[in-house]
Symmetry: C2
Subunit: 280 residues, 2 copies
């Protein structure tokens, strides 16, 4: 089989999920494709209503399926939190969201069964992480952090102002925490770029779970058996690397802006980006 | 005549323009209506491309004209900067933008003929203020301040972090300034809420021009002669105030969110908000 993985985000943040997926696919089945769609004309989703987010997300995953995706990763926390049921209803292929995988990763390491969850206003207002953690027997203290995405996009990932904003947000979250949270869940795909800042301000012993990395690990867990079982032996081929997945990027706003900012999130240059118009 | 003024913004910021217009209309012609459209499902415009901003803005002003607007105020700096020609081409009524009025206000007070201009990434990248000021014989030093809108929307209008961010942005702008700017132009309708913060960090003697206030003043200048000339004498009527303009609010995302955040910008409660769907 050949596999096409569709990764969807409202903008750039989902590139941290794709970045975590790619190394897991290397050396596996030749011919694997990764499609990435950033709905950049309508970002950010984090401040919008459930109805609007759902409409945007469904039109986005329909596009990825039209392009041949046979496995969908909803790398946008906001869309996973508010529209995953609608997305699944509109999809004929398996759909993996960041909320459920992030929550499962927390459950696998928390000793106190209590976690802090940080995310955008809409993700937190949805209580989607709280609900997913509760199903796994964990308690969540949730905190909306609307300034962190703009700070990352300003490039202030290592900056005194960001340090202070993270200190304030974490302090407020800890002050309102029930029980003793021992795990910090980064519930937004921009936040991995601030991992070192979080590490400076969390209490000693607290662990950080990154929903982007957790989702990439889960996607690999689901897909690698398929890829390995049917993989041709490519080790005898020379001259070309058939085993690195091909990458196609689509955006609803300017490809140039996406290339510039996106490369920081992906950790490698982004060459070709195609502009697409999605139905409202 | 009865007059319907349509005020358009990508979200909330334009409410500072409406706020500045309203007192100027009170005591004038009875039956004046103000329509406000916030394209909140697609905000912010500030990080998007010219093509996308233009498409969104044109569909927005077409809606306001369908609702009867016979005078349009483009209260969004980004849309004024990037799409005013397209908006005028799509409009059959007079259109006033914040850029030209803000630039004219600077020209009327600057002695050194040099100004600092702060705005969103897209407004600054368009060099629209620089170009408008240049036509009036002034030099501009422009600086994109992408964190200020999120800080205002977080409610941190009087906060040490905002103080520090403004200090950094103004310091960078002044360090790169040509000549000796004596005027600071607030080129974003969110910035009036930070006026006190700017006042703390500008050099002694520098004046602040607020494009929201300048636009309201210019709209009044254009409209009041019409209203006063044809105004019925309402002073003899008692019991009802016929002279305060009626207000209708339209948004493309959640009316509830708009009511909550919008009231801070308008400086008075917002009662009824109607959700509308605009063509993509």
């Amino acid at each position: 089989m050949s596999l096409t993985i569709g990764v969807f985000d409202s903008g750039f943040g989902g590139l941290t999920v794709l970045r975590a997926i790619l190394p897991r696919l290397e050396g596996k089945l030749a011919g694997t494709r990764c499609l990435y769609l950033g709905d950049t004309a309508r970002l950010p989703y984090g401040s919008k209503s459930r109805e609007t987010i759902s409409r945007y997300a469904v039109s986005s995953v329909e596009f990825l399926q039209q392009q041949g995706a046979d496995f969908l990763v909803i790398a946008c926390n906001t869309a996973s939190a508010l529209a995953l049921d609608d997305i699944r209803a509109a999809s004929s292929v398996p759909v993996l969201g960041v909320i459920e995988t992030g929550a499962a990763a927390v459950a696998s390491i928390s000793q106190t069964m209590s976690a802090l969850v940080l995310g955008t206003a809409a993700t937190i207002a949805s209580h989607a992480y709280s609900s997913a953690l509760s199903h796994l027997g964990l308690q969540a203290t949730e905190k909306a952090c609307p300034l962190l995405v703009p700070l990352v996009e300003e490039g202030w990932t290592d900056h005194p102002v960001t340090d202070e904003v993270v200190r304030i947000y974490l302090g407020e979250a800890l002050a309102s925490a029930k029980n003793a949270p021992d795990t910090l869940l980064l519930g937004c795909t921009h936040y991995p770029l601030l991992r070192q800042v979080f590490a400076r301000h969390i209490p000693a012993g607290m662990k950080i779970v990154d929903s982007a990395d957790a989702t990439a690990a889960r996607a690999a867990e689901l897909l690698l058996p398929l890829l390995t079982a049917s993989a041709p032996t490519v080790s005898s081929l020379t001259g070309v690397s058939l085993t690195a997945p091909s990458l196609d990027f689509y955006v609803t706003d300017s490809p140039t802006q996406f290339q510039q900012l996106g490369s920081r999130f992906l950790g490698r240059p982004i060459d070709d980006v195609t502009h697409v118009a999605l139905p409202e």
